[in-house]
Symmetry: C2
Subunit: 313 residues, 2 copies
């Protein structure tokens, strides 16, 4: 009995060492395959939640056109998905992934599964929408998750999108145990799509590392602003993050929209990730100040398409 | 063989006479039960499509608050349904019916059934949305229509709405044969809800009349603007209609929204029932000119709630 804690500790240390080695060799070689030095600071500026509202679509399209935001991911179950699918189809160079979605977190504006709702009963509430939130009492069935993820990806392809990567709305597929993460990986492998994953997360959740295959891409870092930052310090937060950017591959996870009537109404029950928040992100990431910082700091932008291409070499 | 045309003609004449008698006795007594004289001009000013976008919700709520628009109907499958359901729940005096919806007629913004889509395959397209349109090749299964209508009504009640009436988005349930109209009537009778139906329509579609029971409410007239009216003549069309309003019960079917970014984007593929159209309707039906005309012309407004109550007396 007394030996158990030591064994567990050893296992953790070994896992940590493997994880570190895996991630380092993976991303170092990726940087080099991308044509950069080992210590280059490489950035994906990634806009989440595309398709959720028209405001998010319009702001993301405008930001992508500046070239300063260079990747985004799309919520297939959402009402404005057809608008962004049409844009993606007519702009095949744009770097769109799928923001796999299993929750409908707003109050006055909601959506539900792409799969038939009677096939995914654990994913929907009593009114047929995705759950507003997952609580300890919510029993999510991984088989239903797999069915729904495949339905979302299939609809995306059917409507003309060729996604460059997958990620998970509200991190649900990373933060809810090995079963759901393995579903995400299995689906990603089947469709030959890279999954957004950052080395930052692995220490807290050993199951993330243990499920990976050597071919999976692991970014070094991810940076996203949090509700603790006061609105007046928004730009400073990002400027500091850019100045202190570490060598390797980093993804900035940002949330764009215009603070217009639609977006204010859709998010009015709380400020977090709301209309004003997203307008602040739009303002910073399309600003001359951001462009200048990227240049001054010699930060290189890459897309998921470039990453996946490099990883296959 | 030669006698057939005469028999058919006789049948039509008899049906027409019955129809006229039914409608007249029905609406005359309704006017009187409502406390008006037989020749009173009684109007429902009815906004369609509530729930389809935030813009439509916001404009309809604002118009209802003026008292000049006094009834509306809600599209349960649409993304902004939860917003209007919340309003209806907190404003139980508002006169909301359900705008039963079986199509998703826009291009960049779409919705699908409330029932599980594998239970209503004839109602959905290859991407799982309601059909954009019904063509002669679209085979709509009436049993699936009934399942979907009941799902919409059940969700409305579950989310706190007590509808005062039923009608049909794009008139699909009136204009596509007896089977679908009988589904509408059967469902309406089951839920004890009146169905919007105007005597104007009966001559062209004898099956409407033949399916009715004596207790069904039949309005005398319905007026809705059509795409042939140039924008600059919008107010004149309505003013003329009001001045020439016939005795009996009339429903103005109108479409409200603000011509904002969301609404322009949602309707951008065509002008008909688009953002500018709906802004013009909003502008007229909330105007002092409309209020003054109602007064000058001694036109009485009634709601579906009042109609249903009077019909039960």
């Amino acid at each position: 009995m007394n030996r158990k804690p030591i064994s567990v500790l050893l296992l953790f240390l070994l896992a940590g060492a493997f994880l570190n080695a895996h991630a380092q060799s993976n991303t170092e070689s990726l940087a080099e395959k991308l044509g950069f030095s080992r210590d280059a600071r490489i950035l994906i500026v990634h806009a989440d939640d595309v398709g959720v509202t028209h405001s998010v679509d319009a702001a993301t399209i405008k930001a992508l056109e500046t070239g300063l935001v260079n990747s985004a991911s799309i919520m297939v179950p959402c009402p404005w998905f057809p608008e962004i699918a049409d844009f993606a189809k007519t702009h095949p160079g744009a770097d769109f992934g799928l923001h796999l979605t299993l929750t409908s977190e707003r109050v006055y504006y909601r959506w539900g599964p792409v799969a038939a709702k009677d096939k995914v009963p654990s994913l929907v509430d009593e009114n047929g929408y995705f759950h507003h939130d997952w609580t300890p009492a919510t029993r999510i069935n991984p088989k239903e998750v797999e069915l729904e993820l495949r339905a979302q990806i299939d609809r995306a392809y059917a409507m003309g999108i060729h996604p460059t990567h997958l990620d998970s709305h509200q991190y649900r597929l990373y933060e809810n145990g090995q079963d759901l993460f393995e579903v995400l990986l299995r689906v990603a492998h089947d469709y030959k799509l890279p999954v957004f994953l950052a080395r930052d997360w692995l220490a807290d959740r050993p199951y993330l590392e243990s499920s990976l295959s050597p071919a999976d891409i692991v970014l070094d870092h991810t940076i996203t602003i949090d509700p603790g930052v006061p609105p007046e310090n928004w730009a400073d937060f990002y400027k500091t993050a850019l100045k202190n950017l570490q060598p390797g591959l980093t993804e900035f996870v940002i949330h764009l929209a215009f603070a217009d009537d639609e977006m204010k109404a859709a998010t009015r029950e709380r400020d977090t990730w709301g209309a004003a928040w997203r307008q602040r992100d739009f303002d910073f990431f399309t600003s001359p100040a951001f462009r200048q910082l990227l240049r001054e700091q010699n930060i290189k932008l890459v897309t998921w398409r470039e990453l996946a291409h490099a990883a296959q070499q």
